[in-house]
Amino acid sequence: MEVNFSDPNFLPWLIPVGPLLAFFIITLATNRARLVPATSHEYGGHHPDYEGMLVPVATVPSRILSVTVGLAGVIMALFFSYTVAFSAFGEHGFGAEVVYASNIAWMATGDTAFRLGVFVDPLTVIMLIMVPLAVLMIFIYSIGYMAHDPRQSRFFALISLFAGAMLTLVVADNLLLLFVGWEVMGLCSYMLIGFWFEKKSAYKAAIKAFITTRVADVVMLLGIVYLYYATGTLNFRDILYNPELLEQLAATPALIFGSWGISAASIIGIFLIVGTIGKSAQFPLHVWLPDAMEGPTPVSAMIHAAAMVSAGIYAIIRIYPLLEAGGNPHYGILSQPMVLMAVVGSFTALFAATIAVAQNDVKRVLAYSTISQLGFMMAALGIGAYIAAAFHLITHAFFKALLFMASGSVIHGMEHGEHHVHEHAAHGHDDHHHDDHHGHFDPQDMMNMGGLRKTMPVTFITFLIGGFSLAGFPLITAGFWSKDEILADAFYGLTKGYGAHALVFIMLAVAAFLTAFYTMRQLGLTFWGEPRTEVAKHANLGRGLVSFTMTLPLIILAFFAITAGFVGVPPDFPILGPIFSPEHNAFHYFVIETLHPAFQAEAPAVNAIPVLTSFVVALGGLGLGWWMYWRKPLVAGEEDPLVGILGPVHTVLKNKYYIDEIYVAVFVKPSQAFSRFVIDFIDRGILDGILHTIARVATWIGDLFKVLNTWLIDGVGDGIPDGIFDFGGWVRRIQTGHVQEYLLVVLGAVLVIGIILALSTGILQAAG
């Protein structure tokens, strides 16, 4: 095929190019800095004051250029993505008969080559709709949020790379390229979580994120490698649209654990799911995500919504037919990977929701809600609710990006208020250093807030919309429709008596109730009632560009947090069905074609029980939250009523079941101890010990010979020829000092050999 970028088969190549190019341009060209004293306010905020030191701060032209370049890259990606997407919408039989794909020979492997390229099918298309849009919102938001950061250019470079990696992952046509995007995103989140790298909490969180996900990634790498070995390719279409191949994989015993009756398909599936457990922060590898909020808030939005964790779910949705191989969830036969997903997903959904209930940090609540919602998707996949998982992935991305950025606005507003309060307090005594306040007051603690609806009305309304969508407020929010679909699918299995489906249904219903409750608690503590601190009274976003760029994305995302659900309304839903889905469920109808017909499943008919369950848990949770936190809002100094109700359980939840502490004791400390053991005992002690012993013995033997020499030869030898003596003396003279002379002798000897060699070669060549 001729390369032609107006052809939709080639156009996807260009989608990640914009942000990637932006990364290189910003890094190499528009990252100029000037030196200012570290005590200047330009280096304030998250950075320590170094007495008497100059530090680099991005220049204004660099800032403007970096922002422009970054935005241009994303807009380019958005443009190409939507071109491809709309071209796909217009395509007849897209997914089944037509996909957009092209590839190149990338890596030589014997007589064949590993081919790598781009691939667009319906699942890719819905990601191409969501990702660039969410990323663009995050970029716009970052303009304001990072406006005063001394390293704003670096931020835009990294977040561009982040976006480029995510888009690479989305358009990849094989698991290896997906893994490239996957890991580069891992790097970006490491860099951005640790963006304020002088803070201990920041770099610790960054390392934690990288290592925790790497635990999963090395396992995933084995899965990729095994799949490549077993099929000779990693191309999605070749493997996943090929039921015979998948059946064959499911019938082959695995290389390891094969004797336990595990098939190759199962073990590959399990390895790949482990990758997602790490990336999408599922139990037991969820520990990194809550700490990831140490980065600037737009990064949290990026990680929690548009990119990182969504990528994990996307990957298992993408390889779903492989996971299903050997079973059929619609008849209650689950393969081992499916069971793993159902159990891990539903457990995580509930587990994280319980933790979220007891958190006071505004971002931490959201972080646990992300873990919980990703558990919903994972569980949905585990029972074969493929479409529902994809649907929830999209709606969640919109409302979670919204929630994070809204919480970022809250924090920004609180910092603003803190500044304001401080300036007033500092009037009396000027020698008071402006940074004193930092560290004592936590602008993210909801206990310090309250009443913010008055000073930050737009943030309040949008936060409310996002929160209600997360809680699954019936009928009008996107979150309701996607969550309802998962519950409906689970309930359908329950009616057939499938155990996994029943487990998922019950766990998720309880989790959904808790979700609604902690959302309402969060909204109440943050926005309702009266300000509980002086700072909260003055919290606002100010006016101007910062305020505008931080508000606009919230409004746009709020729109999607409501409307995104209407593309997936079941057609037989009373009243709303005929309005939004006159012919068919648009989302379902489009995305199902991603799968080979052998794996496609009809959506179950609308059943009153799951719908009512959705109503009850959402409204019940919201109602309970209202009753506890809105009816009679907390006043300053008052304790959270939950503490009294839950007692010691609250302490456990607040401390996240002490999992971090357990991991430190069980994994971190022993690893450090073992590394010292390797150095001190194995290498220094044993190996070098043996060496040194040998050396000592050799020296001893040498000394013995010397003694023998002196005694024997010197005793006999008066007749040593003078020549040898002289020679010895000469050698000794060299040895005793001048290394240069010695070297010259060696070099001289080499010269002689070399010249002989050269001449002989040259002469013989001439002769020959």
Partner: protein
């Protein structure tokens, strides 16, 4: 192909550095600047020839039925012994020649920081190149051995004279260890050459394995002779790679050597060992690899793979526990070269099967593993040299190697920080950069053959992340350590110039590995009969 001053290019690559070394050594030491520029000029010229040789090879890959070697030149030399000056390159050697040609000029450029007897230091670096090139292009066992030994001498003096505080110990350990290893190799070389009547590696590869058991050689059983010869080579190359547990010379030597010395040690010298396995130990002893080690009841290839995996895992842990930046990077070599080792174990097993039955059980897997191993050699050359350059740079500026003394350098040295992270990520094997491609190939190749061992190696891969992040954290992150407030910490322009080619190659190899991989692949496919 083409001649340079009437000499064939490969012989030129061997001889030119030696002559350049002499010229540089003989120059007046007072004018350091002139000496440096002259040395750099020579190194660049030789590097240019090496690069040309590589690309000429790439463009003129021999057809499957022709000899795999290009630039072949054979001249009579020491015919009494049956040795001849026989040089030539296949895809594997071409890759190594390219690596050497690239790294030496960069090491010379970095050595500008050496003030003490600068001309001798530079001369030794160039002289070292002679040894390296000689090994990589040799097609005669005698020549191979000669240059293999020759490369030790300059490195010994570089460490011993220009090294860190503990240089005497490190240099002696390095020398004794290496010479101890090559002693067995010398014996083996003589044994093989003498009994086969030739030192031609290609001829030996067909004749030597064909010596059957039962027939007596020098009055000794052939099997015993073979076993002895095998052990001689095996240990020598294991020390060089280094394969666990023969690695303890390395952290000392790398840690104490001056920056340029560390760069070349890690960048090229370790590859001599791996190259020796590919060129000699695997072709000459195909039967031994699949024979059982009585004591352990596993075959030699598995033993080798297991030792390599120990290197991967324990090397990573040892690096993770270091507080000395150069020792940390040094242990990372043990970790990374372990992947070369395990890849070669797969090659050895497949080659043995091919030799015994005419075809390897799974040639495709073996080819991928070997491709990965050779590419890993090249990649490790790039990233370890770059890591040592950066570690040396910061040591030169602060005069301490203790990670705990650093902290927050990214505040004052943003460019250094960015380069440091980029290089660290290449070393960590981040997809999109060079190291990942080779590690992926190796893991793909070893998984079906040594499944459990590969799974264990993943622990090492995990802790690779651990020590890399520890390094970044200690040097760049955290509040700035005000002790260094008045120091110049930012990377120097000269250092940027020296590291830039490496960074570019890391990125290019990671994004389009096929610029180099087909060269390796063709030769490997031919060796393993894919």
């Amino acid at each position: 192909m083409f001649d340079i001053f009437g000499i064939d290019p490969l012989s030129f690559l061997i001889i030119a550095p030696a002559i350049a070394a002499l010229i540089v050594a003989a120059m007046p030491s007072a004018n350091k600047s002139l000496v440096r520029w002259v040395a750099l000029g020579f190194a660049v010229l030789i590097g240019a020839v090496a690069v040309t040789v590589f690309f000429v090879y790439q463009q003129n890959q021999p057809s499957p039925d022709a000899s795999p070697f290009l630039f072949e030149v054979q001249v009579e030399w020491f015919s009494l012994l049956g040795a001849s000056w026989h040089v030539g390159i296949d895809g594997v050697s071409a890759t190594m020649v390219l690596l050497t040609g690239i790294l030496v000029p960069l090491a010379v450029l970095i050595s500008w920081e050496v003030e003490d007897r600068a001309h001798i230091h530079l001369a030794l670096l160039l002289f070292f190149e002679t040894g390296l090139m000689g090994v990589f292009v040799a097609m005669d066992l005698m020549i191979f051995f000669l240059f293999y030994e020759l490369s030790l001498v300059p490195m010994y003096f570089i460490i011993d004279q220009w090294g860190g505080p503990n240089r005497k110990y490190a240099a002696t350990k390095f020398m004794i260890y290496s010479v101890g290893g090559t002693l067995g190799m010398l014996l083996a070389t003589q044994l093989i050459g003498w009994s086969a009547g030739t030192y031609e590696i290609a001829t030996l590869a067909t004749q030597w394995p064909a010596f059957r058991e039962g027939s007596a050689l020098l009055g000794i059983d052939v099997a015993t002779v073979k076993a002895l010869a095998f052990v001689g080579f095996f240990v020598a190359f294991c020390i060089k790679v280094p394969i666990w547990p023969f690695h303890t010379w390395l952290p000392d030597a790398h840690g104490e050597a001056p920056t340029a010395g560390s760069m070349l040690l890690a960048g090229v010298m370790l590859k001599l060992g791996a190259y020796g396995f590919i060129r000699l130990v695997i072709p000459l002893f195909p039967d031994v690899w699949n024979s059982t080690v009585g004591l352990l009841n596993i075959d030699v290839a598995t033993l080798f793979a297991a030792l390599s995996v120990l290197g991967i895992v324990l090397g990573a842990f040892a690096a993770f526990g270091q507080n000395d930046i150069k020792r940390l990077v040094a242990y990372s070599s043990v970790n990374h070269m372990g992947f070369v080792g395990i890849g070669l174990a797969v090659m050895a097993r497949a080659y043995g099967q091919m030799w015994a039955t005419g075809a390897a059980a799974d040639a495709q897997t073996a080819i991928i593993a070997t491709n990965g191993a050779v590419l890993q050699m090249f990649n490790h050359g790039l990233s370890s040299a770059a890591m040592f350059l950066l570690a040396g740079g910061i040591y030169h500026k602060t005069h301490t190697r203790d990670l705990r003394e650093y902290g927050g350098f990214w505040v004052k040295a943003p460019i250094y920080g960015a380069i440091f992270i980029f290089t660290s990520m290449a070393s960590l094997g981040l997809p999109g950069l060079n190291g990942f491609v080779s590690e992926f190939l190796v893991v793909r190749g070893t998984w079906p053959v040594f499944t459990a061992l590969t799974a264990i190696a993943m622990i090492g891969l995990l802790f690779t992340g651990g020590y890399i992040l520890k390094g970044i954290r200690a040097v760049l992150h955290g509040p700035f350590n005000l002790k260094w407030r008045d120091y110049h910490l930012e990377i120097e322009r000269r250092e940027v110039v020296a590291i830039a080619p490496l960074l570019a190659l890391m990125l290019i190899t990671g994004v389009v590995p096929n610029w180099i991989l087909p060269v390796i692949n063709d030769t490997v496919t031919r060796i393993l009969g894919g």
